[in-house]
């Protein structure tokens, strides 16, 4: 029983990181209809920037948190302004390819500026052990679960009740008509990119704090793909849940089957799910009436 609880707890912790990145995927998809293939790379870049910041100015938690948010927002805005907005009106596929190009650039940039070796993130607080019942958790693991929970509630309320949130959903559905309603769609999309990069950045920093910083952090983006798809690309909340599900399934297959299956379990899962529900578990089906 304890074994199962342990598996569940750590599965939720890693799932929360996937979930955050999946939320980031969904945010961009929802407001622009795009998949940002550089999402994992954005997370990595923010983590590296934060690492460099912590190296310079110390690893005070508040300082690191503020910097992460600022770095994420700035990175998101820069990407949107330099790469995405000029592509407005081009086919979706072309813009998706632009993000693939961005992914390649960000990966190499990290190696160019820093180096290829793993380094400790330097946030000691994250690796402190916390005892809950009879299981040990790292403080960072508990934090990331809490962070995802908080962002989950916040974004639910945002999209449900805030007028800006509703406007974002409207832009996602039909940006031209949103324009006619007086929405500055470019600004909405910029905000979505900023928010997405910030959330991804938080996930990147948490991951780096738990598992060290190294140039292959971007691969959490690959793990979050199945999560986002599973939840439904257009469902921000669904994606977060998708992350938890993928984390849990990974840990269950790892804990009861084998480790090699664990690493692809997410992909196997989505292939199965997509065959049955082509828009994911929580995704909106195309409304055929209109």
């Amino acid at each position: 029983m304890n074994y199962l609880i342990q598996l569940t707890a750590t599965g939720i912790a890693i799932g929360a990181i996937y979930g955050l990145i999946a939320m980031a995927f969904a945010l961009v998809y929802k407001s622009t209809g795009l998949i940002n293939f550089a999402q994992g790379e954005v997370a990595m870049m923010v983590a590296y920037l934060t690492w460099a910041f912590a190296g310079q100015f110390g690893s005070g938690l508040i300082g690191v948190a503020v910097f992460t948010i600022v770095a994420g927002m700035v990175l998101g805005l820069v990407i949107e302004r330099l790469l995405i907005r000029p592509m407005m009106g081009e086919p979706i596929f072309s813009i998706v390819l632009v993000t693939i190009g961005l992914a390649v650039i960000l990966r190499s940039l990290v190696l160019l500026i820093w180096d290829a070796s793993p380094h400790p993130m330097g946030i000691e607080a994250a690796s402190e052990l916390i005892r809950i019942g009879n299981l040990n958790m790292r403080a960072g693991q508990v934090f990331v679960i809490g962070l995802m929970g908080a962002l989950l509630v916040a974004s639910w309320a945002f999209f449900r009740y805030s007028r800006y949130g509703i406007a974002m959903r409207a832009v996602a559905d039909d940006d031209r008509t949103a324009l006619l309603m007086g929405v500055n769609t470019a600004r909405v999309q910029a905000v979505a990119w900023a928010a997405s990069s910030t959330i991804a950045g938080m996930a990147g920093v948490c991951f780096a704090a738990l598992y060290d910083i190294s140039p292959d952090i971007y691969s959490i983006g690959l793990k979050a793909f199945p999560a986002a798809i599973l939840g439904g690309l257009d469902a921000v909340l669904g994606s977060a849940f998708g992350g938890i599900i993928v984390g849990l399934i990974e840990n269950m297959t790892g804990g009861y089957m084998s480790s090699t299956i664990k690493e692809i379990s997410g992909f196997v899962l989505i292939v199965g799910v997509l065959m049955i529900r082509p828009s994911g578990l929580f995704g909106q089906r195309e409304i055929e009436r209109v």
Binding site: L83, L97, V98, A103, V104, I270, V271
Partner: protein, 348 residues
């Protein structure tokens, strides 16, 4: 000189070329390519060989993405299956290389049916991700099935001997790749002007409309996957033979991105574009090397240890640059140049 581009019947429209000069130049190029090993040094010959077998794979992807408009991010999966199809047949069981090449096409083609099946239900990004998932699953499957594939140990591949000809030398292997590249190009060009090709392009432009015109969506989408996978598989086998050693590690996800870059840079859906794109992308490292050697010492210092990174950044920049400033790719530029050449000094 022609004063314009007029087609008077369908035959002219679908002809491979209506221009004598294009035909002449193609023949000259062919002769030059056949004679290349006599002139090029080993390094350059190696590069041209890489271009040739990369071209086979890129043309394969082009059938799926360029012609039929189905996005695949898992083409490296077909590539690795092709390499293993050949390696298991020839490298492990010692069967005839011809059978190996056949398997290199058939195995991925079968996988193509399996991967293609979701394309009937999924569209766009969802399909792209399913294909990507496939690439990851294939890798694990090959590693796990070590009783067939030698697992992680990899398979040694000697250069083949077929019909009494040994392809051991670089020149001979080059000619083998040239043969496959020309064959792939011929197939691609001819698909384009056949009923199948027109069906593919109809699906690309509007699959619902295509269906209403009597095109069997299921059959043609699967056919596109099968043909694409077959060609990509052949490229995988050639790649494996070139490396002389096949492991899963040799086929990274990066290859998929490289293939996408080729199509984007060259110009999606155009065979000429794929050729130009392949040449540019394969030669990119050499080009950057030359360019950076022209710069100062400081840059060369960076190049000494960070050459790969600089190159990759350039890679990304080129992809984005083409998408942003010239979505028609190199083939578009080529056509512009041609037009300017013919019409100069008039605009059009």
């Amino acid at each position: 000189m022609r004063s314009g581009n007029f087609k008077q019947n369908v035959g002219e429209l679908i002809a491979l070329t209506d221009s004598k000069s294009v035909a002449t130049w193609s023949c000259l190029l062919m002769v030059a390519l056949i004679g290349a090993p006599m002139v090029l040094d080993a390094h350059l010959l190696g590069l041209v060989t890489v271009i040739l077998f990369t071209l086979v794979g890129a043309l394969g992807l082009n059938i799926l993405m360029g012609y039929t408009g189905l996005v695949s991010l898992g083409h490296v999966g077909f590539l690795v299956l092709g390499a293993y199809g050949y390696a298991v047949t020839v490298g492990i069981h010692g069967l005839h290389p011809l059978l190996g090449f056949l398997m290199a096409g058939i195995v991925p083609a079968i996988a193509g049916v399996i991967v293609g099946a979701p394309s009937l239900r999924l569209k766009g990004i969802y399909l792209a991700i399913t294909t990507m998932a496939f690439a990851f699953i294939i890798n694990t499957a090959i590693l796990e099935a070590d009783f067939i594939t030698n697992g992680s140990s990899g398979i040694f591949l000697p250069r083949p001997t077929m019909f009494g000809i040994s392809f051991k030398s670089d020149a001979a292997f080059y000619w083998l790749c040239l043969f496959f590249a020309v064959a792939a190009l011929a197939v691609t060009l001819n698909i384009r002007r056949s009923r199948i090709g027109r069906a593919f392009m109809a699906i690309r432009d509007n699959d619902i409309a295509a269906q209403s015109m009597g095109i069997n969506l299921i059959a043609y989408k699967l056919l596109a996957f099968v043909m694409s996978a077959f060609m990509t598989g052949i490229a995988g086998a050639l790649f494996g033979v070139y490396l002389s050693f096949v492991t899963v590690e040799g086929f990274t996800f990066h290859l998929t991105i490289e293939a996408l870059a080729i199509l984007v840079v060259g110009g999606l859906g155009s065979a000429l574009g794929v050729v130009l794109g392949t040449i540019l992308i394969v030669l990119l490292p050499e080009i950057t090397g030359v360019l950076l050697s022209l710069t100062g010492d400081a840059a060369q210092e960076v190049m000494a240890t960070k050459a790969f990174e600089v190159r990759n950044i350039l890679y990304g920049v080129i992809i984005i640059g083409f998408l942003r400033f010239d979505p028609t790719g190199l083939v578009g530029i080529w056509k512009d140049v041609q037009r300017t050449w013919v019409n100069w000094p008039l605009k059009y």
